[in-house]
Symmetry: C2
Subunit: 408 residues, 2 copies
């Protein structure tokens, strides 16, 4: 039950009904393709006549196409409808401390090309280098279709509306305009988003199958920091100042370990890769300088190695991982108690040890969850190889095509 915003509403015109139904049809085709008009009509509970017109319009708009005819036991063979995603392209960019990733993707999130290079930090050079590489990639690899925009994912706080990077400590960026500069250099529309939120967008817009059914979920990505994307009622929550989802900096204990953000006791300071490694090596985070902390995090030995040692029987490694798992669960309990999502998705290096830590996470989660039924909140691990950040960047461009029309 949504309240109408009397300061920002949209009245229905005589074409609104058609717009709504066209968009519903598009999403049903996306989910059930290949699908016939008759089948679509049954799913929508409208007459085949209406679907015929809707399909015609979607074909004219280039959003779907007619494919082969299907087989049925009796009667006229249906002509199948398909989503046109193959030749609609997006460039996805993931800027990280060490490397910048450029992926050419189609609108279904499928990877067509991938390029990795050392991140350039100075914003003007960053834009110059990136736009040159994007243009080259589109020239050599983009013959399959038309590129409709560039999605950029940044580890830090981003004002998605204005396209400015408010604060990305690992890159050393403060209030930097990336979107407009990059748009000017490439001539393509650019969208920019925080990495945690981008991952949730990837899940919301590009995931297929049963996972696509949840309209309210939280995506928690644990790596150098803890990135979180919150999706409520099928919509990403960005918030007044575009910082919604920063669960990483809620306190587990106000006087806990020192966090990179400058505060103490943040969830992130208990579960980040650095925290996990610190437990193993016995580092005292509060005593290390910020610079030393960063270098420690970039060390050649990382959490994946630690997981390997734990699997190899290293008890100390396992203990470090289990401790992280425990704090992961305790923090997730707050996510469950406050947002009570349909499910929680986890990503990051530590999740490669999911079989080792699931029990510990669940037990500690249950410890601080208020009612028993909420202990059953599904926890799902999103596999590392799907590159949620890059897919999220692509989703920034692809999503508007499939979103519900704004109404009332």
């Amino acid at each position: 039950m949504r309240k109408i915003n009397t300061h920002d509403f949209k009245v229905a015109t005589r074409t609104t009904s058609r717009e709504i139904n066209r968009r519903i049809a598009l999403n049903l085709i996306r989910e059930h393709q290949p699908i016939s008009r008759a089948d679509l009509a049954r799913r929508m509970s409208v007459t085949r006549g209406v679907v015929s017109v809707l399909a015609q319009e979607l074909i004219e708009q280039g959003l779907i196409y007619e494919g082969a005819t299907g087989e049925v036991t009796r009667g006229r063979k249906p002509t199948f409808l398909h989503i046109r995603t193959r030749d609609r392209l997006a460039v996805a960019v993931d800027v990280r401390f060490s490397k910048t990733y450029i992926m050419l993707s189609d609108f279904s999130g499928r990877q067509l090309a991938l390029e990795i290079y050392d991140t350039v930090f100075a914003p003007p050079q960053f834009v110059k280098e990136l736009s040159a590489r994007v243009k080259r990639m589109l020239k050599t690899q983009g013959s399959a279709g038309v590129c409709e925009g560039i999605g950029v994912v940044v580890p830090g706080m981003v004002d998605h509306r204005t396209g400015r990077v408010l604060n990305a400590p690992t890159l050393g960026w403060r209030d930097v305009d990336v979107r407009d500069k990059l748009a000017a250099a490439t001539g393509l529309p650019v969208q920019i988003e925080n990495s945690g939120r981008a991952c949730s967008l990837a899940h919301l817009w590009l995931e297929r199958g049963e996972a696509a059914a949840t309209q309210s979920f939280v995506y928690v990505s644990v790596s150098d920091g803890v990135g979180v994307g919150v999706v409520v009622h099928g919509e990403l929550v960005r918030g007044r100042d575009h910082i919604a989802g920063e669960f990483g900096h809620m306190p587990l204990s106000l006087d806990g370990p020192r966090c990179l953000c400058g505060m103490t006791g943040c969830w992130e300071s208990y579960v980040s890769n650095l925290a996990t490694l610190s437990r193993y090596f016995g580092w005292n985070l509060s005593k290390l300088s910020p610079k030393a902390l960063h270098e420690a995090g970039r060390d050649s030995f990382n959490v994946l190695d630690l997981v390997a040692r734990a699997r190899g029987g290293d008890a100390k490694a396992n203990a470090a991982i289990q401790a992280t798992a425990r704090f992961l669960g305790l923090g997730l309990a707050t996510v469950v108690n406050t947002l009570n999502p349909d499910s929680i998705y986890l990503a990051g290096e530590i999740t490669t040890a999911w079989d080792l830590i699931e029990e510990t996470v669940r037990v500690s989660l249950a410890e601080r969850v208020l009612i028993a039924s909420a202990e059953g909140t599904p926890l799902r691990v999103s596999p590392v190889q799907v590159q949620p950040r890059l897919r999220g960047a692509a989703a920034l461009i692809a999503a508007p095509t499939f979103a519900a029309p704004r109404v009332a």
Copy 2:
């Protein structure tokens, strides 16, 4: 940008546009009444012809009525349209440990009658007593209009969909069916909701003026416990297990004081009325038995008295209040970091000392908020006398009349 739920959508029919626009018109009339058709047409950017038809239908449905003609400098005088709320009634019930409150309210949340009696705990007797009183109240005071339902607010966890009280520790209720029993006894539709969430509903649906503009806010009610209602994009978040909003039990420090819920270090255990009083009297909560805790909370000396002493120059009283204010701000920081609402509304006895504590709350909030702009999140105190819980109960019944139609 909302994703369409392909498993639960609603196609547009030929009457959908009209439904949408009728509902928009209704809400605009509600906000700007008295308002003429012509003015409404300008606000909606549609022709007066359309508004004429919409208004006619709303009149036939009994949702609005024509009032006096207005004054205008030139031209034909407009006939004003008004919302019909005076003769549409709801019964609001607030069940608390000591007393049960019954309010007869119109659809604008205005109080027509109020009855207070000692709470009956045994569920069957509770329903019997309550339904008898409701019926009597409607007979004696309800001549002004038609009662369209009963809204019940309970201090505990509630499954709003099934109408069951999952767990209300202060009442000693576990998995009790209230809604259907009460509906059967009175013959009226019954809605039931948790008190924190109900307060946010009151704010969302019954507040007038600028406060009504925020579509994303958090309502924090501090009394025996901490009740929180989360509204995102104009819609209350209930969650998978109907526990969304339980910020009261997120940890500030995992090894903090014992909470009534059985866990330790919950925000509630730092800022509840009991916690504030304990600081003043030097109680050790962890050592008191649950029963003693309850009795301490029911003592004759309460937070209002403590505030009075602080105003009177009692330094110890002031210190206790300031400590609570500090923890209030630290907890609110997590609300800001995770949901980043447009504004936060505060209620409860402690807010009567807002002039004394605002600075402390703001400073500690700023301490743990991630970016400077978010420190400016408006904190507003909702005055005690407006009875947010009872208004929330009324909102449960009144809201469906004004909600946006479900579409796509």
